[in-house]
Amino acid sequence: MKNKLVLILCALVVGVLPTTVSAQSRLRVVTTLATFADLVEQVGGEYVKVDALVSPKFNPHFIEPKPGDVLKVKRADLFVHAGLDLELWRFSLVDAAGNTQVRPGGDRELDLSQGVMLLDVPNESVSRAQGDIHIYGNPHYWLSPKNVKVMVQSLAEKLSNLDAEHADEYQQSAERYIAELDRKIQQWEKAMLSEGQGFVAYHNEWLYLAHFLGLESTLFLEPNPGIPPTPKHVGKIKALMKEHNIRTIVRANYNPSSVAEALARELGVSEVVLCPQVNALKPCTDYLQMMNYNVQSLKEALLHE
């Protein structure tokens, strides 16, 4: 009996040992999305060490956090997430991590939705009958570069608060990046030839991109956000595509290809795969490259109409 108790105590002691082996001077930032990690790197540069939890190969709405993710959040100096209901799994993640400062409202938590322009915010009360997610408004807001300007500013402020020593550097990097974004925004806006064209999307996650480029994104293969396509609903979308002569279907790299491909074949329309996240596809190496790729691909697809 005594031996058993000693064993359990040993296990306890090993767990209590300080978990940081070497004192790292860099701020450890953990983000949910790869896109946020890119922005943190742009602002934080050499003073931060960034880890993104969700692989861009997967749909960020439906992730099962792994023990490694729990450990990263436990040790994070700053936890950056999308807020709203994009990552519903993040609540049990911070519970498991037990890092009280990154809990909702904590000093080392940053909700990047703060201050951004939200679309599709329901005016009336909502219920799950309208779908599983997007109940506070459309949470895919980083696909508007104008929102990214707000997000970069929030990041600079948060990093400056946590690491006052390098506050000037963070502010300068943010200003430089915002200036670069402004230049790019003009290019992207000019790239889109005709306004008001529309496309069908698998999931309602291209709304901000469409809004930014003056395009229409109102039809989706999912009957409601997060509900897989049903044959009946796809039939309805098919009829609407014919009626309004919509000739482009857009999906994310992680959306199932079967429904979109079959519909594109049947109607003889183009199907285009865009990057919802940095690193989702090879050309999307950072946020600016991702926007270049998305704008260019969308433009080419719409030109084929």
Partner: protein
């Protein structure tokens, strides 16, 4: 006439050059002034252009806003979801999960679910932060066949550095399947090894549990987690690992290794040591080792394949020589998600019951083959059809068909396993 024109022009030129020679300096000054004026005008033109573009932008934004308003949705500056909105932020999160199961069975016994449809379980889930260091979670289970039971009611405390503490009544993390709620299982029922040893619905006990991570240089690839706890004696309904005496505590310690080979492939390995009593004396005469392995592989982001196996081996101090003193059992499960709506799977169970008279019993073990088909209607609604063929120790066989429907409303949250 022509002559006069040329003459006048010539005269003017002469006069001009003469005048220029006379006052070249003031001419240069004038030239400079004109240049400066041109610059000012250019700047003004530039400004007007930028203002025009800005006005066009604002007009476009305005018309988009109007359009969006027409669609009964609005554009808003997000306040961020973290900011608490009034006193409502202090209300606990509430979730309700309903499990309705219909069952066709060969068994004659009029027991839970036999040849009937039952609201097998209605789980009421509550939870909220108590203070920045503590969270309270509770699960109350109602059923049309049993009395109300307190499945879970525990506080999670994060105040000790690197250690998470759970105190109260909870599902101890002594294995994979037993630690899960029914709605998280891949199958309608718990594996036989869990049912026979820990209880038909797995283990739920009062106690205290500590957990944490073991630092390692390779932790980007492998995460090591430890769990240790003390709980009241006894096990769940129809379980037989420990006796019924609750005042004789049971102890457990678990080591878990989670290996991330890639974004698509992960292996979860666990070993748990449990010790407790089968009666009211002071000894810890029942020792058990539980081993588990789970391999998850995503063939595509929407097609995960899960292979899982768990085994429990025991060393029991049985006084009756006719009884097996080292009974063991295991299950192996495969689950494949065909697409975002359907998954299929199967499970094989093999278990040696505790307290079985090995001489007189027709079979020394119980086995079961299970196949199932799951329809994921949405994240919050799911249907499952399951067939099971079981060969029982008493010598009979049982074929059962289940139809299970699971619905969840409200804030439906489960702890990460």
């Amino acid at each position: 006439m022509k002559f006069y024109t040329y003459f006048l022009a010539g005269l003017l030129c002469l006069q001009g050059s003469a005048w220029a020679q006379v006052d070249e300096e003031s001419f240069k000054a004038l030239q400079q002034q004109v240049e400066q004026l041109t610059q000012v005008v250019n700047r003004l033109v530039d400004n007007t252009e930028t203002q025009k573009t800005r006005i066009a932008e604002l007009e476009a934004e305005n018309s988009q806003l109007k359009q969006t308003m027409d669609k009964k949705v609005s554009i808003q500056r997000a306040e961020g979801s973290s900011s608490a909105k009034g006193l409502a932020a202090f209300n606990p999160d509430i979730g309700v999960i309903l499990d309705v199961t219909g069952q066709l069975s060969q068994s004659d016994e009029d027991a839970e679910g036999n040849d009937k449809i039952s609201a097998r379980e209605l789980e009421l889930v509550f939870g909220h932060d108590v203070d920045p260091y503590t969270r309270l979670d509770a699960t109350v289970t109602l059923s049309d066949f049993e009395e109300v039971s307190l499945e879970e009611a525990y506080a999670t405390y994060w105040g000790i550095p690197n250690v998470n503490t759970r105190l109260g009544r909870f599902r101890p993390r002594v294995g994979k399947a037993t630690a899960l709620h029914r709605d998280q299982l891949k199958t309608v029922d718990e594996p036989l090894v869990v049912q026979k040893y820990l209880g038909v619905e797995g283990l739920s006990r009062s106690g205290v549990e500590f957990s944490g991570f073991i630092p390692a240089p390779w932790e980007d690839v492998v995460t090591h987690e430890w769990i240790a706890g003390v709980m009241e004696g006894g096990v769940g309904e129809d379980g037989a690992l420990f006796g019924d005496v609750r005042r004789r505590p049971s102890l457990y310690a678990r080591l878990r290794h989670f290996i991330e080979f890639s974004d698509e492939t992960q292996l979860d390995l666990g070993s748990t040591y449990l010790t407790g009593s089968s009666d009211d004396d002071q000894r810890f005469e029942v020792n058990a080792l539980a081993l588990d392995a789970t391999l998850t592989h995503y063939l595509t982001p929407n097609n995960p394949l899960t292979l899982q196996a768990e085994a429990m081996l025991q060393d029991r101090d049985e006084t009756d020589v006719l009884m097996e003193d080292k009974p063991w059992g295991f299950y192996a499960l495969a689950d494949y998600k065909l697409n975002d709506r359907f998954s299929i799977g199967g499970r094989y169970d093999w278990v040696e019951p505790i307290g079985l008279d090995v001489i007189s019993s027709p079979r020394n073990e119980e086995t079961a083959w299970t196949g199932y088909f799951t329809f994921h209607q949405s994240e919050y609604a799911r249907w499952r059809l399951q067939y099971q063929h079981a060969e029982l120790a008493e010598g009979t066989n049982d074929d059962r068909l289940f139809l299970q429907a699971t619905f969840a409303i409200g804030v439906h949250k489960h702890a990460i396993q």
